[in-house]
Symmetry: C2
Subunit: 516 residues, 2 copies
């Protein structure tokens, strides 16, 4: 068995059965081996940022790694921005990157570059295979590293000749590491804080924003009065009617500081101390009060859900408030098309168990406010701030959960970074409804320009934030990649088109031209 | 004057008056300063790979650096693949990358990453500004580094607060470094080789493929019988009727080895020893005969043109062959649309002083053979092998040479990596005719699969090289970004559409659906 087949079979032996790829010459052996190692689903993407973003979305929803296959340093380079997001999302990914054959590498051919150096800033583990005989073992190391709690990008660089040489048996299945519960003494100490302080807060991130953890947090809030906050950059939140809803810390520092003012103890659950997205003149970076001590209930590596349950037990918090009823807003049938009317439409028509990806940027807050009463959904946020994650993450989520509707809420500016995701949605007939919030502007930058202390935008600065000359035609961009698409310019048009898109199966795109 | 304005004025003081950008919050001060520092042309791109590729194309044609402005590590990450190409093209670029403010950086906000590490593999010089007062001086260092012969990517990382602080006076104009002539002794030694060996070869790269160098090479060939080869990955070649045409070393190793067989002395002029693009089982990487000594007439840093002229003088080679007449092929007016008929159409209709970018991949050789007799043109090749350089390089070339027609010859697969370049072509009304060679396949990979010793493609492997399900509609993708576009499916349609596109000014795209 050659190296490529040994690698594929090692992945399969570990239930890693999805490979997202944009391969080149150095990776042809892996492509060829797909026909000899059945069970690996291979999904082609036309740009590497789609590969890495989809692997992130898949990991967030399935909890397990996909493999990715990219072509040498430049192929990896194109995937880095979304690997950065995956890294910040703590998503497990086994990233396979081809390298020139060992004989060829010293000759400095055009594609030669330092792949390890490129991989390191976004990977928890980087290794270049040193002999074909180590293929099975090295792949096991990569899988082990990817699964290391809380999850990370593990990059295995494979010289081309090691994939075509005889490589021996594949690696066997490993035991998946489990997250550990924090020390009971730590839980007791934090219980004591909750009992004694009238103004403590929990900050939840990681897997502590999923159902079981939310139930425990709700009990704690009811019993102790602790406030509960959600890290707005967490990889996955479960939200919607019937669920306890932690407060999402606002994006801009002024309201974020205000929301956390007066807190005397902050208890971190798989979370880091809350910081603002950007630094601004004369504003702090830390959003908690400067003298507020931080207590770690569970590190990102530990089992925050179990820790919350143990803490609730310790506090005698056994009663969760009754679930709030679903409160769908009325469907807006006429009027101007705004982020708010879109949000209301989304809530009014929310299908069961939807998965929402959010890269709406400046439209996000208005939409979010409308979603609280909608039936339960999973919400996948921007984690690392690299623009261009929304469509690929939705693609990956749809691969992980083929029976659930994925809804990609995307801005027109951010969608352009990885619009190639639409083609793979069409090819795989994935059930993703994309809504493009078209304000024909990098509007967030118009806001940020003033915030960073720069003057009002002059005409040339304004031009650099205007993406409306020429207007992007998202209907054409989607149809050009095989995705059915329509354009809505009023609330009524949007409601009708969105309703129709939800009733269909398969990818649909609606360009929502915003009035505001 | 704040840091951003000081940086812009330092660039302007050094005649760097084009800034390609995709800025974010951390770069807002630079955007704001555009209105206070007139003279800087700012060009917005919707994806960072367009920024870096356009800077490469601009440098290749203008010989001077553009500035680029990208947003933090992830923004740089998206630009890396085309910076890799710029690096291999030896293109001077002043790459400005924003960083979080120094106060904010330690807080590990979502976008935080190791920018220096990302920049290093593609940059000749990397520096993070250490104080606002050093802005002028550091920018001068960056410009000096970029201009260091033969040219390189110089990356200056600027913390946001250093762009909003008071920063003092901008840096003054520097004296541009000149390339040095090699030692006369080296030239005499090589002249002696040419006199004594019946089978020597010159390998030209860098600026030694432009007119003046070609004249000297022609004289040397006529006088001494030396064979003259062109590095096929050189940044810029001047070609076409009336010019001496060095042999282009073939892409695949077998014909490349054959073309260089029997050569006893290889003389490198701004070139490295010729190597194959990829390594293959049982084939060497070095394309010259293994016992053939390499002699350096001029390193990439030196003045290869002057060296060739001095060598011609030393050899008494004063007579160039008379220029070959322009030999336009007849315009194909009917029949199937193939790479060959497209090549013939391009040659038949070649405008004066056209600039051609080549990312045709598998169609390239057939087109190239048809271009020899066409009127003179500049030819910009793939340099570093990162896919997605063709459209951005054409965009940059058009910015550098607004009175010349740029013709982007692009494959459908490779075009998808940076299709966002079309929007900037429309926005800036650049005179670029894009021809998409649509074979609906990563055809080169079908060839490479067999070459790397993998078996014939099985059905699942074949699917990973097929980009035809669904077909990309390049007419829609272009119109969606404001570029007029048509589709040709026969030689006659292509001739008519291409002729019309050449007569117009402004960006046009033709999707040429290949019959073969």
């Amino acid at each position: 068995m050659n190296g490529a087949e040994s690698l594929l079979r090692t992945l399969l032996n570990n239930s890693i059965d999805l490979c997202l790829m944009n391969p080149g010459t150095s990776e042809m052996q892996f492509v060829s081996a797909l026909d000899r190692a059945p069970g690996m689903r291979s999904v082609l993407c036309l740009f590497e940022g789609v590969v890495s973003g989809a692997a992130d979305g898949y990991a967030r929803m399935s909890g397990k790694p996909a493999a990715t296959l990219l072509h040498l340093g430049p192929g990896l380079a194109n995937g880095l921005a979304n690997f950065h997001n995956a890294h910040k999302a703590r998503s497990p990914v086994v990233s396979i990157v081809g390298q020139h054959s060992t004989q060829h590498l010293p000759f400095n051919a055009p594609l030669t570059t330092d792949i390890e150096q490129l991989a390191r800033p976004v990977s928890g583990w980087v290794h270049t295979l040193t002999s074909p005989g180590r293929m099975g073992a090295a792949t096991i190391e990569a899988i082990t590293a990817a699964l290391q709690p809380p999850g990370q990008v593990a990059t295995l660089i494979v010289p081309a000749d090691y994939s075509w040489c005889e490589a021996g048996a594949p690696g066997e299945a490993i035991v998946r590491p489990v997250r550990e519960l924090p020390d009971p003494a730590r839980i007791r100490a934090i219980a004591e804080i909750l009992r004694s302080s009238g103004s403590a807060a929990l900050l939840l991130s990681g897997r502590a924003l999923l159902d079981r953890a939310l139930v425990a947090a709700a009990k704690l809030a009811a019993a102790t009065g602790v406030r509960v906050f959600a890290d707005r950059y967490a990889a996955r939140m479960q939200r919607g009617a019937g669920r306890f809803a932690p407060e999402k810390i606002p994006y801009f520092p002024e309201p974020a500081l205000e929301s956390l003012a007066g807190i005397e103890h902050m208890i971190l659950v798989e979370a880091y101390p809350p910081v603002s997205f950007f630094g601004y003149p004369n504003l702090p970076s830390l959003m908690a009060p400067p003298d507020c001590p931080m207590h770690v209930l569970a590190t990102p590596e530990e089992d925050g859900t179990g820790a919350l349950e143990a803490l609730a037990e310790e506090c005698g918090a056994r009663k969760a408030p009754g679930p709030a009823a679903t409160l769908r807003p009325e469907l807006p049938r006429d009027g101007a098309l705004t982020a708010q009317t879109i949000g209301r439409t989304l809530a009014a028509l929310m299908p069961d168990d939807a998965i929402i990806t959010d890269e709406m940027v400046s439209s996000g807050e208005a939409v979010w406010r409308e979603l609280e009463g909608a039936p339960p959904f999973d919400y996948l946020a921007v984690t690392g701030g690299s623009i261009g994650q929304g469509l690929p993450v939705a693609l990956g989520a749809a691969l992980a959960c083929p029976r659930r509707k994925a809804i990609a809420l995307e801005a027109d500016g951010s969608g352009m970074y990885t619009l190639q995701a639409l083609w793979t949605m069409a090819r795989e007939n994935l059930d993703v409804v994309t809504v493009i919030f078209a304000n024909r502007s990098y509007r967030i930058l118009n806001i940020e320009l003033r915030r960073t202390g720069a003057a009002e935008a002059g005409p040339r600065a304004a031009e650099m934030m205007d993406i409306g000359h020429p207007n992007l035609d998202w209907v054409a961009l989607a149809r050009g990649q095989g995705v059915e698409a329509t354009r809505a310019t009023t609330a009524g048009e949007f409601a009708a088109q969105y309703g129709a898109a939800l009733r269909d199966r398969g990818p649909r795109l609606i360009e929502a031209v915003l009035a505001d």
